[in-house]
Amino acid sequence: MSIWEKMLNVDRRWIFLLIGIACVVPFFTPLGLPILPSQEVISIYDYIEDLSTDNAMFVGFDFDPGTAAENMPMGVAVLRHAFARNVPVFITAYTPLGQGMAGMAIDELTNPATGDYFEYVNWDAWAEIRDQGFTERADIEEAWLAAGNTLPENARGWIFEGRDIAFLGYLPYFHLVILGMSSSIVSQFPTDVGGTPLEEMPMYQDHKSLRDIDLAVTTAGSSACVAWITYGREKIGLPIAFGVTAVMATDYYIYIQSGQIIGQMGGLRGAAEYETLLLDNDYCKNPGKAYIGMDVQNIAHLLIIFLVVLGNIAFFAGGFNKKTKLKGRR
């Protein structure tokens, strides 16, 4: 067996080891290469930037733990943007595990240990203010502060459950749920996951069906996002933005081209671009997880290309191009 043949038939585990090393090292020696946001991501950012507390949006956590590394930073970034702008957010999930993912995203944004966080105000905690009849966001906050609450130093703002956020969660056959919500949200979700009746929520009173919603962002690791197009966009013209994994991103360029979605975050890079936009516009102080991850990408991509080149050198130097036929393809 020549050295070339050995190289071509190398035990896969060596490749696994190399990839493992390449993905760990950059965490200790960051490169910090700049990331330029693409138009598809800027469109989403600008769109949310134009929303205010009178609008409302949906954020669908339509992914499972498997794609959390890519989808989670997108969901967190979009939620951060919405929370900072006090845009009411309905949170849904396409899969049962997606509900857990949404919970984790809210946790991350409301956890004091993370720095840049939002102080979560429970539904029951501000019951008195509700009883006084306040429904406007500004009035609620004023009354809340007047009641002797102060914003902790490293918190960015308040999130009033039922005014700024409604965690609706998961329902099976979610495409039918989207369809149902186009006439009435409460028909599908009588309560949020905590059992609070939706009808009592001020944010529901202003936005009763998907027709009253200004944007739906779906962060998806599967074709779940298409359901939003088919049943939300096509049926009632709901504006949709995608946050999809890198692999799906190529497929959904079609939707950008045909104007069916307003923008798309593709993979970790898309998330990193959104984080860059948030960072540049002072919505947060520290770069997010996706931003740091881009360094690893650089090294890993180079390694894979190096391996491919090496494989081809061995292939031709060993003269295999003359012997073997292309296997596995017509």
């Binding site: 585990r13 696994f16 990839i19 993905c23 760990v24 965490f27 200790f28 498997g66 794609t67 959390a68 590394a69 890519e70 989670m72 049962p96 595990l97 509900q99 969660g169 998961y170 329902l171 099976p172 009588p190 197009i229 088919t230 096509e234 994994t245 890198a246 692999v247 991103a249 190529t250 079609i254 081209q257 045909s258 069916q260 993979g267 970790l268 890079r269 997880k289 996706a290 991850g293 690893v296 990408q297 890993a300 991509h301 894979i304 017509r330």
Partner: protein, 211 residues
């Protein structure tokens, strides 16, 4: 305390799965079986609390107006269980037929709209408009001709021979391969991201070596 134990459990199972890269082993086997059991158990719990209870049991128990109609889907659903009894197992085809028939009927016009007409509509773009850069013009030409050629490849009832079907399907498979290569290359980033997520968990959340 629970949190620390949780982190350790999570980390052990993470390593257990990675150990599969070296060799199949008892730790992987345990993780594999546990995750099958847990995920299905979770599925049952969710289906009950999110579907059956709010959409079937509660309306019936509260005697909501017209709730008795819900007995129809409930009975249909229960018919699935006849599968366990071979002699009446064929009854389980009824709920299946209900879901299939309506599902296919609902899907048909929607598929026509989104999979065919929308795609066709998007294919009808001008090749050149004033002020278009050369790479876009070239792109448009490649896009339209590529679509045509790749469509020829999917003709099943004609031999792929001769100048039209022969050449066409050859160009078609080339275009398809360029597309596949691009998708593969584009995917690499996503896959590395997943590993990054786990490294952040192992080195950050668990071992606190990195931020």
């Amino acid at each position: 305390m629970t949190e620390t134990i949780g982190l350790w459990v999570g980390a052990i199972f993470t390593i257990g799965i990675y150990s599969f890269l070296y060799k199949e082993n008892p730790l992987y086997r345990l993780a594999e079986h546990l995750v099958v059991g847990i995920s299905t158990g979770f599925g049952i719990a969710i289906t009950y609390t999110q579907v059956l209870r709010p959409k079937l049991i509660e309306p019936l128990a509260n005697g909501e107006q017209g709730a008795w109609l819900l007995l129809i889907p409930a009975i249909l659903g229960l018919l699935y269980i006849t599968r366990f009894f071979p002699s009446v197992g064929w009854l389980s085809r009824y709920p299946m037929a209900f879901l299939m028939g309506a599902g296919m009927g609902v899907g048909f016009p929607l598929s026509m709209k989104s999979l065919v007409l929308r795609q066709l509509e998007a294919s009808l773009t001008p090749l050149y408009e004033t002020g278009m850069a050369w790479d876009i013009v070239l792109g448009n030409i490649v896009l339209v001709l590529g679509t045509l050629a790749a469509l020829i490849y999917f003709f099943f009832s004609k031999p792929h021979k001769g100048p039209f079907f022969g050449t066409g399907s050859k160009i078609g498979i080339w275009v398809i391969m360029v597309g596949f290569g691009a998708t593969f290359g584009f995917t690499v980033m996503g896959r590395i991201s997943l590993l990054i997520g786990r490294i952040q968990f192992l080195l950050g959340d668990w071992l606190h070596i990195i931020k």
